[in-house]
């Protein structure tokens, strides 16, 4: 009965964690006002939760509503706490665990996409190879001269990771990533 405890937080009586950690994607709908992002990420650092990816932008301009997408990792018990703690924040309208929703709909994961800008510099064979691989990944060249390319690549997190890994030996200079944008499949809104 009492085998479930937080792995994090202020427990003085730390018991062994028996649940396995899972990666979940949360969508947090908030009033877009000063300090709201600080409240959300302050909660994660203050209570010792993980953030693997964070994406935020205003999505409904008239209502000043922003949507924050957070990829986090924790045991089911910690994930339940994260959701409950986020919902306590006054400007938070609602929190949806997209991973749970996806599971309910029979999918493994929600739809997730990232965009990355990847700068690669080099010459000769490396340069040709970089361009060929970029083509295979459907990456676009958005800037180039005779010494470098900047690729724009889109896809799942795993695709982006793979692309960056491949570019590493071919003269990778710099990477910038947007973080994950996510949505559940199907016609229903969140």
């Amino acid at each position: 009965m009492n085998a479930r405890h937080q792995a994090t937080g202020s427990a003085y009586f730390i018991a062994k964690e028996t649940e396995r950690p899972e990666t979940h994607t949360l969508s947090v709908v908030v009033d877009n006002e000063p300090g709201v992002l600080a409240r959300v990420i302050g909660l994660f650092s203050g209570r010792g939760y993980n953030i693997e990816s964070l994406t935020v932008s205003e999505t409904e301009h008239e209502k000043h509503i922003s949507r924050i997408t957070i990829v986090t990792r924790g045991t089911p018990h910690v994930l339940e706490q994260i959701k409950a703690q986020l919902e306590r924040i006054v400007p938070v309208h609602r929190v949806v665990d997209l991973t749970v929703v996806a599971h309910e709909l029979g999918h493994e994961k929600p739809l997730e996409r990232e965009l990355a800008l990847v700068k690669v510099a080099g010459s000769g064979e490396h340069r040709v190879e970089a361009l060929r691989l970029a083509d295979a990944f459907k990456a676009t060249v958005i800037d180039a001269n005779i010494e470098h390319f900047i690729f724009e690549v889109r896809g799942r997190t795993s695709t982006i990771e793979q692309f960056i890994a491949i570019m590493a030996p071919l003269g990778l200079v710099e990477v910038c990533r947007t973080g994950v944008a996510a949505m559940t499949r199907g016609p229903e809104g969140m």
Binding site: M1, N2, A3, R4, H5, Q6, S10, A11, Y12, F13, A15, V30, D31, P34, G35, A38, R39, G42, G46, H77, E80, Q81, A84, Q85, E87, R88, I89, V90, P91, V92, H93
Partner: protein
Amino acid sequence: MNANAKAGEQREMTGAEMVIQALKDNGVEHIFGYPGGAVLPIYDEIFQQDDVRHILVRHEQGAGHAAEGYARSTGKPGVMLVTSGPGATNAVTPLQDALMDSIPLVCITGQVPTTLIGSDAFQECDTVGITRPCTKHNWLVKDVNDLARVLHEAFRVATTGRPGPVVVDIPKDVQFATGIYQSPEVAEMRLSYQPKLSGDEQMIEAAVEMLASAKRPIIYSGGGVVNSGPEASRLLRELVDLTGFPITSTLMGLGSYPASGENWLGMLGMHGTYEANMAMHDCDVMINIGARFDDRITGRIDKFAPNARKIHIDIDPSSINKVIHVDIGIIGDVARVLEDMVRIWRASSGAGDKAALDSWWAQISKWRARNSLAYSPNKDVIMPQYAIQRLYEASQRAGKETFITTEVGQHQMWAAQFFGFEEPNHWMTSGGLGTMGYGLPAALGVQIAHPDALVVDIAGDASVLMTIQEMSAAVQHNAPIKIFILNNQYMGMVRQWQQLLHGNRLSNSYTEALPDFVKLAEAYGCVGMRAEKPDELDDAIDAMIASDKPVIFDCRVANLANCFPMIPSGKAHNEMLLPDEATDEAVANAIDAEGKALV
């Protein structure tokens, strides 16, 4: 100024005027504060009106705890007003205190003018940044036209749902600026904040069914019952009477069920009674009403009520399953949920297993007979427990409505164990944060709200020195608070832990140079008293209560008394250290290596 703005009206006024108007419109009669450069326009408005009375403290921390005491004893929000920079940072301790004990506290801070924010101006600090994790919500108001709405929202957030502290940070130029004031009725309400008050009916039915099936039930109530209001305490008593179940309470919940009540087991937890903790450990159904499974309550989590099915009522969804997994979690206001629960219990005729309950009570009687609060009386030296018993008897003799506040430490636990609380809102203590220095200013706040009542701060000699300066405020405002110091010249609880954990090496827990508290009282212009022998105690306490002035009472108690019973760190409820077993050797070996890492 526009003192007569009617409900629903919109009027033009300055930001500083709006602050006073919003206080009035939210029913505020008293505020606790300390002036400074960035709040001078608001203080100028305070000067020009009589509706809101300002209580000048001597340190901003004192204002915060006084407002907490005011709030806890009235059920209304406490309000504090402080300046920017150090004024705001000094408010941090009471804000966190109020957050952990769910006290409605509205803190208004001044800020440097908007044009100077971010320039490291004189007395500038990032108030909303600093107070973000220690408030339920906070606001920096940059436009005077937002000010009224924000202030009304601040009161709403502080007092509804799970109550808590809020900060409204107002730059000085916004206080001077003129804008439109909206009354609470017309001000826009925030959609994202909608606390859930009614519990799920099906869950409540399932809970009643579970309670009815119990053979060894226990009710464990907490501060949420007090916060929910007097109706919640009334319904709690009704539930206990209906079911015949035993009831225990956390430190924060004392008084919701009367200490003289038949089914009362005393407080539970680290320094709770043997019968309460044993009953918690052995129960088969537990209902937690407005408490949060704090670590001082649960002891070792994996041995907490190992055979019990558990029900938890809490207004804060994040409290459910945070520490202890429960079988039924009911999210809602205690009074509303209990109302449904009592109704459903009444409707289910013959609910409860009477025979099983009788044998459960027989078992509890055996634990009770263990007399876990026993101590050895002494003819020559005042035992601290004895002093509190005599104080309780004297307050009964005096027949006055009595409010008790405490500081933090051994005296706090003895007060909880030995002072009988019959009503909610009459016991003010820093439970979650454990703030030494809470009790004296809290007593000031209580006395301001209840000028004719007896308000006693049961204090320790160490804690009381942390906010002793507020005696000056008590004298100024004719608040006849009684500071009853159990003076053992030690930080008693620190010393007790050093004896338990650190081989009796009493590192820095002895106070070498305490002030003469009687002379100190006289220096502040209040009454100083001292008792050193048990036979002097009753007369001295009666004289203290009879005084119409603030009193500092230096009660010299046994220096080395320790607080028992006790659940040592890392131990379960059924592994208590009882007073008659607490030999030096038992104390030294009570906590094993694993427990030593835990506080």
